[in-house]
């Protein structure tokens, strides 16, 4: 996983609550057996005027001019500003893969769905939870100011506005560490192989029916 670096990211607003993972990446694109290439189909049903299918050339499709990410002022955005319960629905990791592939590395919202939250951090995407009132202010500032950027300081756990106002945020220490260092979870866990084997040696005698290889 790539290391999360401090960034001054262009902000794009996604002004609706309960954005579900079907909306982030529709099911027809889940048929891919790869981890990459989902960016052109991020928010597919909102972004294009036609129905998308896997393998098509997205550059020739009719764009929905009303969709926020199609507006030139948000081109190159790295920070997505969203409303409550962002990422609800299915466990598809294709949702953070699509956000990442499109270029987003931060999502700010009042709340996130649990599985999406996990999946995003596994892919180097930082999710920042700020209270509703702060998020509302950021929406207003983003819409009012073309080229609005936020300074995302994970190390210091702060979102800093162009005027210098800083909003602190919470993130658990382990996730923060993994993001900053770009660490691979599996390698870390396998360092504890001994503890896992010890657990199995206690677990198996008391639950022999859970082991079918004996």
């Amino acid at each position: 996983m790539k290391k999360f670096e401090r960034l001054q990211g262009l902000v794009a607003p996604m002004d609706r609550a309960n954005v579900d993972t079907d909306l982030i990446i529709p099911k027809q694109f889940l048929k891919s057996i790869k981890r990459t290439g989902f960016g052109p189909n991020l928010f597919d049903e909102l972004r294009y005027l036609d129905e998308g299918y896997p393998g098509q050339d997205a550059t020739s499709r009719p764009l929905n001019p009303d969709f926020v990410l199609n507006q030139p002022r948000y081109r190159g955005a790295q920070v997505l500003l969203a409303r409550r319960n962002f990422g609800c629905g299915s466990s598809r990791e294709h949702a953070p893969w699509a956000l990442d592939d499109f270029g987003f590395c931060v999502v700010i919202a009042p709340s996130f769905a649990d599985i999406f939250y996990n999946n995003s951090f596994k892919n180097g995407i930082l999710l920042i939870t700020l209270d509703e009132a702060t998020v509302e202010r950021l929406f207003q500032a983003t819409e009012a100011t073309e080229g609005y950027r936020l300074d995302i300081d994970l190390e210091g756990q702060r979102v800093i506005t162009p005027s210098g106002e800083a909003f602190p945020f919470e993130v658990d220490a382990f996730r923060k560490h993994c993001l900053l260092e770009g660490l691979d979870d599996i390698g870390l866990t396998l360092e504890q192989s001994g503890a896992i084997r010890d657990f199995e040696s206690r677990h198996r005698p008391s639950n022999p029916w859970l082991f079918r290889d004996a």
Partner: protein, 490 residues
Amino acid sequence: MASQTLYDKLWAQHLVTQRDDGSALIYIDRHLLHEVTSPQAFEGLRLAGRKPWRRDANLATPDHNVPTTLKERSAGNAGILDDVSRIQVETLDANCESFEIEEFRINDERQGIVHVVGPEQGATLPGMTVVCGDSHTATHGAFAALSHGIGTSEVEHVLATQCLIAQKMKNLQVRVEGKLGLGVTAKDIVLAIIGRIGTAGGTGYAIEFAGSAIRDLSMEGRMTICNMAIEAGARVGLVAVDDHTIDYLKGRPFAPTADQWPAAVEAWRDLVSDDDAHFDKIVELDAAEIEPQVTWGTSPEMVANVSARVPDPTDANDETVTQGMNRALEYMGLSAGQKITDIQLDKVFIGSCTNSRIEDLREAAKVAKGRKVATNIQLAMVVPGSGLVKRLAEAEGLDRIFVEAGFEWREPGCSMCLAMNADKLGAGERCASTSNRNFEGRQGYGGRTHLVSPAMAAAAAVEGHFVDVRDYDYDPGNNMGRADAGEMSA
């Protein structure tokens, strides 16, 4: 020891290491796999030169992409006409073969929706941790198994380490007391719960469903409820062990052997919350007040009683909510104040990991028996949850009842719940569906989904619009029957 909830017990029993930063390593007993969320995980293992930690903990079956028509199914994988779908199923087969993981392939009679297959095989047992790259893994919590959906990175992590990095959740008890009215089912209970607490109401919590109405439910009804815990935002839904749990499991292929059985039952009996256990939040519902439910919008929390009208967005006292309701009504082609029973339908789907088990099909068949699908319904389909459910339904003659009424009787799979195979809604088409999500585009681009119980879906097929099944002449069962384990053995 301090009093514990069921969730606290399951967590403690699987804790490998607890880190100072609040995260923990928990051990995974059962890992279910399907074709959509596993290919990248297997690829990751291969690239890193890793092997599965414990092969026997894994069980796989293709379900999302499989066709449901007999013509296509009879050709096996070759019958999957969409190349991309076929490659995904073939990739699962190849990965299971090379990593030596047990798989029920496309035309194995034990194949089916992974959340139907696990319990019916006894591969889901009380006291287990169960994960799968699928958010509806919450289903398995009906067996007092700590079960939840994971992403593909976590699928790879579980394959490689038999563990998951997790944070302990908070405890939420949803208590449903009293007797359900006739014609009101487990599906209506869970939709009513979601309507009450909202789609984020359970975020960060493990929900334990308790109370006399839950105790009265069959295992299949409890699975329906736990299945949709995720639609209330909770990754985990749980029900405590009781006689229903134990009776259901006895004799199933993966269940404990006869000589292990007494010790297993003794251990499982402890899988209940202690009397004075602390819950961070408690929500109570009166079962007698629950009506058949119908969703009207594009989120499962947008749900109403069948006797009600489509709500008015201006009644919401929150601008974001009002905007969401307006957008939903526009997408759904409905207006505020419209009677739910006046909503005319184009298609009906009975199936999905929420409602495709034998009791669901029996309920729908009771309504359909001797009646005909209305002429305005272009397609009414029944998709059993597994090959074994299908066989049992056919042995009971349910397939003939459906076919005579004008329903299509299909082969098992996820089908039109999420429309990854050929079963989908066209733009603007309106469907009564026994599935779990009514999101925009979920059942097909531009499709409009109304979530209901199997009996409500069958009655809607017959009438062409929603009706209150409580006014219907049939013999309702309320998910209170019991499936016989012997019938489910392959």
